[in-house]
């Protein structure tokens, strides 16, 4: 591999890593901080992508506006979902939540099929993002991908700030370890959790909306991303935003170079990485920090 | 077993145990000997490193430096379960029980540790007469006999503290490392615990960590005082009581009776 190609591969790795982070961030929030093992996270991602598909014609060129509308809608959805399906599960065994989210996957998948059919759909990127940059004469790089990466970085910073630096973030984390005590301090944990859950759903949906123009929209798209996101969250250390970012980038690099060097066995590479890291550091890379 | 072994070799001997947590040295080169027939109290300010010391003696956490001998045999590298089976029993400062199990099962399970036989698949655990017998006995001793069938989690705080001690006794230890056994117990229960300690020390080596000074001065044969990870004094109770360093660092004026 010559040097320019190597650099482009690094760029690929970073870009894939950042996109993974965007999806995984919502998962860290719901899974790592609230303690809900949310298998339906991939479905929220899918919902976001289909939302982009459905909203695009309504908003035309107003891409940012469309994203905002999508965030509001998905947050509302998350709010209601938490209310109906999760609010009474926190006191129970965590595995009950797993069963619930598993059931939700089935339901979402079928509802999607009823609303949108089973075709593959494309979503076009807004014109101002649809060009390509030439990279050293080797290939061109879609501007949209760079935009997506930028969006991921913004979300990463924002999320890190909220979770680590605000009282809201502290309350959420406190709630994950001892709900009763948080209540005893005068904090309405039910409302708080509903908001966090909504935020997690909105983040997943945002990821889906951002990914849609690049990845297209198709049945089962949520399932594929789900496992890899769990891998990211766990490698990073559950509940750690910065850990998730590092882990996403690591996974991005391992996946990218795995494909280049061990094409035949690249399916295993990410899992080998996870197993090695967890055997080395049983609590993930950043077990304590948030 | 020795009856009065004070002058024989110590049952448990710890040399220069040190434990660091990142930048903090929680315990600095603490040496301590425990003899059968002697109750050795360790007192000290909050965060002085008493629980950490117990954790190192029982093998719960590894010492950064130092050595440990049980019965003259080097036990520094032994993992916790091995130490426990060799006779080092401990209780926890924060109640550490099996809340879902019955009170009896809590004790039976710890008693079973000495008779594990995991391959005895045909034999029912509840039918294991030896462990059930020990469990009933220690519940009687701890004053919990009437609660045997209650789920342990449904007991009050003080009752759980009593169970904590009972579970420790159920392993039939030779060395008892007790981390604030009186905390949370009412006056009456504390009284019973103290007389139990007085009985136990005849054939056990006991290390007692406790903040209740009345109790400590009543039962201790020797007192070690820790502040910020270091031993500032180790002496008989009478000498400790009047030691000015100990008074300013720990006792305050409350115990100058």
């Amino acid at each position: 591999m010559d040097f320019p190609t190597f650099l482009i591969q690094c760029l690929n790795a970073v870009q894939y890593g950042l996109l993974l982070f965007l999806v995984a961030s919502g998962l860290t929030l719901i899974f790592g901080i609230m303690g809900v093992i949310n298998l339906a996270h991939g479905s929220f991602y899918m919902i976001g992508a289909y939302m982009a598909f459905a909203l695009a014609p309504l908003f035309g060129d107003q891409f940012i506006l469309q994203l905002l509308a999508g965030i509001v809608l998905s947050a509302l959805l998350g709010f209601v979902l938490e209310w109906i399906f999760f609010s009474y599960l926190y006191q129970r065994d965590h595995l009950q939540q797993v069963l619930m989210t598993y059931a939700l996957i089935l339901v979402f998948e079928e509802v999607r099929s009823m609303l949108f059919g089973n075709d593959v759909h494309g979503v076009t990127a807004p014109p101002w993002l649809s060009g390509g940059l030439s990279l050293g004469g080797v290939m061109t790089y879609p501007v949209y991908n760079l935009f997506a990466s930028a969006a991921c970085i913004v979300v990463a910073i924002g999320l890190y700030f909220v979770v680590n630096r605000t009282r809201l973030g502290m309350m959420i984390r406190a709630g994950a370890s001892n709900r009763d005590m948080v209540r005893g301090l005068g904090i309405n944990i039910r409302l708080l959790y509903r908001i966090v859950f909504a935020a997690g759903v909105a983040l997943a949906a945002l990821a889906g909306m951002i990914a849609a123009p690049a990845a297209s929209v198709y049945p089962g798209m949520g399932g594929q991303i789900l496992i890899i996101c769990f891998v990211v969250v766990v490698i990073g250390g559950i509940g750690s935003i910065s850990g998730a970012l590092i882990a996403s980038l690591l996974v991005g690099f391992v996946d990218t170079f795995g494909k280049v060097f061990f094409a035949q066995y690249s399916g295993i590479s990410v899992y080998v990485l996870m197993a090695l890291i967890l055997i080395w550091r049983p609590e993930g890379l950043k077990s304590k920090g948030y | 077993m020795h009856t009065d072994a004070h002058h024989s070799q110590p049952l448990l001997q710890a040399g220069a145990l040190t434990r660091r947590f990142g930048g903090l040295t929680a315990v600095k080169a603490v040496s301590i000997d425990l003899h059968v027939g002697e109750l050795h109290a360790v007192i000290g300010t909050n965060g002085a490193g008493k629980s950490t010391l117990i954790n190192m003696l029982s093998g719960e956490i590894a010492a950064s430096e130092g050595m440990l001998k049980l019965d003259g045999v080097d036990a520094t590298a032994w993992p916790q379960p091995k130490r426990a089976r060799a006779g080092i029993g401990r209780s926890y400062q924060r109640t550490t029980i099996f809340p879902q199990f019955s009170v009896l099962e809590n004790c039976r399970l710890t008693a079973q540790a000495a008779l594990q036989r995991p391959w005895h698949l045909w034999q029912s655990a509840r039918g294991c007469a030896a462990s059930v017998g020990i469990a009933r006995e220690v519940l009687e001793v701890a004053g919990l006999a009437g609660f045997a069938e209650r789920p342990a989690g449904s007991m009050s705080h003080g009752q759980k503290r009593q169970l904590e001690i009972a579970m420790c006794l159920a392993t039939r230890p030779r060395v008892l490392l007790l981390d604030e056994p009186l905390a949370g117990m009412g006056a009456e229960e504390a009284e019973r615990m103290l007389s139990l300690l007085e009985r136990l020390k005849r054939d056990h080596a006991i290390l007692l960590v406790e903040h209740d000074m009345d109790a400590v001065f009543r039962v201790a044969d020797r007192i070690t005082v820790m502040v910020n990870g270091e031993v500032i004094a180790s002496d008989t109770p009478d000498n400790i009581r009047v030691n000015p360093d100990v008074q300013t660092a720990y006792l305050g004026d409350a115990h100058e009776h």
Binding site: - | T45, T52, H157
Partner: protein, 239 residues
Amino acid sequence: MNTEAAMLDVAGVNTYYGDSHILQGVDLQIPAGRALGLLGRNGMGKTTLIRSLMGYVPMAAGSVRWGGRDVTGWPPEKMARLGIGYVPEGRGIFPNLSVSENLVMSARAGVDGSRAWTYDRVLSLFPRLAERLDNGGAQLSGGEQQMLSIGRALMTNPTLMILDEATEGLAPLIVQEIWRVIGQIRETGISTLIVDRNYRMVLAHTDLAVVLEKGRVVLAGESAALAQDHDALGRYLGV
């Protein structure tokens, strides 16, 4: 006891855990600015009473009034917002938060808008905590956790402090300090409800005392008077 206007007035509390009838008609009043000690042997229902009035455990019967207002059945977060600072038995530290986060997250102005208890004041009360600000809650010693739990409750600037075994595991010097602070708090007009195994200290630092026996109030009155009643103390506390 009934002559003063009660800040907290709990009447006829009956609480069950499953089938067992734990509290059997308990009455309790805490007048504004007064300290009340709740005594009883292990397992008599002290904690259950506190958890009932805080709204953690549903009461089968009984009422809770706050400053004359009926607040029966309110959930814990609303009770806390009335101005109750709660130091639970067993501390309830958030293990995944650092010491300073444990304090900061609970900071709140009192119902009257007062901010008497600030981060700095709590740290100066417990200098040991100031040394361990970045430690995770789970990595504190038992006593440090207890300090944190008290400090956290103070950060909410309560009008009523409920201390359930708040001195457990604290070194004698600190315990003295805590009792001194309780005295101070009392002077600033804050009420306190204290459960502690050291009945002598409780009786010395409270105005009123209530003794529970098997879920019933068997004795209630002035603390000073009870301190002299060796008979009753022997009967109900086993001392």
